[in-house]
């Protein structure tokens, strides 16, 4: 490497507060790109939230949230997802210490709690559809299934990702590119929990509020 190349990497002036100019390392760029994806994903969710909020009273004489929602289930779902998010952070901490056993244990716990969340959600969907309150019943229910179902689909994708990640960490060890995927996964999982906070507040609690 010639000495002329050095200023390119080190040309940033600290006084801008914006970090160095020039290409960053992959350890920064990859999670940053994934962060942009997550923010775009949240923008997509905001469109679903907006349509839900616009259609929440359009129940077409059918059941409303007050008739359908069970707050006890929602509370269990919420705690499961929150603890799952917490445990996922512990998995990342263990992975940074290159501790295979605890990484796998915490990842498994993350996945199982996510699976519990998904089971409760699917059971709720099933009982609603059985009771004739499926997505085709009214605009309110279409918006409900679109919003909550989209979050559930993300959780399902996250569960597949957990399985893949556990296998990759097991087979390939804590290599740099595996750790980048790990960090991206934790971003994804925490972001899903943030979306769930909005869902249980806007959909369930406001739907049941007196």
């Amino acid at each position: 490497m010639s000495t002329h190349a050095a200023p390119l990497l080190d040309a940033g002036s600290a006084d801008t507060g914006l970090g160095n100019r020039g290409p960053q390392s992959k350890a920064i760029i990859v999670p940053y790109g994934f962060w942009l994806f997550i923010l775009s994903d949240i923008i997509m969710f905001s469109a679903l939230f907006a349509s839900y909020a616009a259609l929440v009273h359009a129940a077409d004489g059918g059941p409303t949230g007050r008739d359908l929602f069970d707050l006890r289930n929602v509370a269990i779902e919420t705690v499961a997802l929150l603890v799952s998010s917490f445990v996922c952070g512990l998995a990342l901490i263990a992975a940074k210490r290159r501790n295979m056993l605890w990484t796998q244990v915490w990842l498994l716990a993350t996945g199982l709690l996510g699976f519990l969340f998904l089971l409760i959600e699917l059971r709720e969907f099933g009982s609603m559809i059985m009771a004739g309150a499926g997505p085709q019943r009214s605009a309110f229910l279409s918006a409900f299934f679109a919003l909550v179902g989209c979050h559930g689909a993300h959780i399902t994708a996250g569960l597949l990702w957990i399985g893949t990640l556990m296998a990759q960490v097991w087979a390939k060890g804590f290599q740099a590119h595996i750790m980048r995927r790990f960090l991206c996964f934790t971003l994804f999982w925490h972001a899903l929990d943030i979306v769930w906070v909005a869902i249980f507040t806007i959909v369930y609690l406001m739907g049941m509020a007196p």
Partner: protein, 128 residues
């Protein structure tokens, strides 16, 4: 050699650089705060102690507080100079989210008020 310097001036979203105790403590604080905020949200819906119309506002405030807790303690978004890019991207995302949500609700409420069909048609399509 400059790689070390570079990495200290910028940090990936979700990443923190601390000791084991600090990191676990941060997640624990986040968990406890989030649980407390969630419990409060569920409590104010189940109780009749509070003034009805104020409940929705309270719920929104609690939800925003909990999202902040998640961002700080789980996603490790800070106000430090190494987080500038992450925060700027987040701020832009929040701006778009607010525009979509507020814009949709504003326009749809306006349409509802100004272009409401006759009552019979209204009953046919949607019942409030």
């Amino acid at each position: 050699m400059t790689d070390r310097e570079t990495e200290r001036l910028d940090i990936a979203p979700g990443e923190q650089h601390d000791t084991l105790l600090n990191e676990v403590t941060s997640y624990l604080i986040g968990l406890v705060l989030a649980l407390a905020l969630t419990a409060t949200s569920f409590y104010i819906v189940s109780t009749s102690l509070l003034w009805g119309p104020g409940i929705a506002v309270g719920l929104v405030v609690l939800a925003i507080a909990q999202m902040g807790v998640h961002l700080v303690f789980f996603l490790h978004i800070t106000s430090g100079p190494d987080n500038t890019n992450n925060v700027l991207a987040l701020a832009f995302g929040v701006l778009i989210v607010l525009l979509i949500m507020a814009g949709t609700l504003w326009i749809m409420a306006n349409l509802n008020a100004n272009m409401a069909p006759s009552p019979e048609l209204m009953n046919l399509q949607m019942q409030h």
